[in-house]
Amino acid sequence: MALVADNVSYAYEEGRPFGVDAVRGVGLTLEVGDLLVVAGTTGSGKSTLLRLLAGLLEPSTGSVVVDGVSPGHRDARGAVAIVFQDPETQFFAETLRIDVAFGPRNLGHADAESAADRALSEVGLDPSVYGSRSPFSLSGGEARRGAIAGALAMGARYLLLDEPTAGLDAAGRASIRGALEVERQRSGVIVVTHDPGEFLDSASGIIALDEGRVALSGSVGELYADPSVYERAGLELPPIVRTQLLARASGMPLEQVTLDPGRAAAALVAARGMRS
């Protein structure tokens, strides 16, 4: 049971607008419980890869397989859900509940509304409060979570998200990360982003794309062991991580690298204590 991309490539015809770019020979495997981060700059092909995985584009070469069948297969219908960038700009219905139920209703699910309510609770929006509100009246973080619920309600086993935290303030970003941790209990999650910093502590794996190719693929620990490839792909590690990697490189016996300032400080101070 997995979402597998095997050596997929895709090239657009000439003259596409900026930011839509080719994918060249990419492979990955996503299983339930995974949180896979796909990092890359604009033009690295990450958004195209997401569309290939969702079955919205047909790969020129290579294949995408969803639990053993192709994305177009009857058994794969609804198995993969995708949340595009700024998904709150796609709201259309009078109430959030009707909007979130749009997906399951299209799939012919008998009880679309209760699927919508379940999805709303999963992203931390109480359906009895938010279900009847206009989706256009929500704050930034609420709207983003409501839009993600629209994908969750489809009952997908694999959830793909493009820049899920972009443009949100600190509180909004934290609420999205929380919702994804919950979602991960029952599905595989891919987050595509140009700024993966905030997901480094929770990611099960990371893939860095550079001009459509896989520059790096492995665990976050492996990334920290040699960040040079990652940096060559135009990506940057958060300063707090760089501090800890630098400390390691200068010989401090630091076991764990973390985004949490309190834990990082304690570990650094402890490591320093070992010197004397």
Partner: protein, 265 residues
């Protein structure tokens, strides 16, 4: 440089055709169109085909792009051809006969003539938009409308509205594509059911599209206010359009020649 994907969209290269004043091009194309409809023989069409080919070559626009629209017209061309060429149970001699349907040689000739005329019209007029920026075009329209300003027609404002509409066509097209893909990913189908079902299927596309367009319009109004836009009065232009002697020469001689082809052949 990337090539724009929309038919008839400006191709940003330098050429003698690009550097002509837009009013010259509009005038010449008007006379070309008139001449094309006056011509009643293949010789005339041949003449125009040569002219279009020469201008296309001089414009440095890749022929592939200039001809892109012809493919889009394929159905119309085929229909024109068949409507003229085919006869139902023809009494007279025909070129070819399949069951009750026959191909009439005279009709075929007429069909080819009309189809060729459509192609020439299409390619010829598209040379205007391929070699002229939308702003140059709207400036030209503003200038041609200027006599009407005296009667209180806000020609400057109309031209600005046209410019902005043109500016936001690619943006809106991209946005529409984005929303359609997103709703498709949520299981929406746009190709099933009768007319009413299909129209209703577009509600989840049109609502967000309009909401976002209104948002854009608000931002744009602020941006224009901030940059001191206060209507056409007192505005100067970066590219103040000037009719050079070359423009007058092309307009008068070229226009006369084009008209002459149509009248003669």
């Amino acid at each position: 440089m990337r090539v724009p994907s929309t038919f008839g969209q400006y191709v940003p290269v330098d050429s003698p055709v690009h550097s002509l004043d837009a009013r010259t091009k509009i005038g010449v194309i008007a006379l070309f169109t008139l001449g094309l409809f006056l011509a009643d023989g293949f010789a005339g069409l041949g003449g125009y085909a040569v002219v279009v080919a020469v201008v296309l070559w001089a414009s440095h626009v890749p022929p592939r792009i200039a001809l892109r629209g012809v493919r889009a017209l394929g159905v119309l061309l085929l229909f024109t051809l068949l409507a003229h060429a085919l006869r139902w149970q023809p009494a007279t001699v025909t070129l070819l006969r399949v069951g009750p349907i026959g191909v009439d040689p005279e009709g075929l000739r007429t069909g080819v003539f009309f189809a060729m005329r459509i192609v020439l019209l299409m390619v010829g007029t598209s040379l205007l938009t391929l070699t002229t920026t939308p702003v140059q075009l709207t400036d030209a329209l503003e200038s041609l409308m200027r006599p009407a300003s005296a009667l209180g027609v806000p020609s400057g404002e109309i031209a600005m509205m046209l410019t902005i509409a043109l500016r936001f066509i690619p943006t809106t097209a991209q946005e529409a594509e984005r929303v359609i893909i997103a709703q498709t990913a949520r299981g929406a189908r746009f190709d099933e059911g009768g007319l009413v079902t299909r129209v209703r299927a577009y509600v989840p596309v049109l609502v967000p599209l309009f909401v976002n367009l209104f948002r854009r319009a608000e931002d744009l109004a602020l941006a224009m206010d901030s940059r001191c836009y206060r209507g056409g009065r007192g505005r100067t232009r970066l590219h103040a359009a000037i009719m050079t002697p070359r423009d007058w020469l092309v307009l008068l001689l070229g226009g006369a020649a084009l008209l002459a082809i149509g009248i003669t052949f």
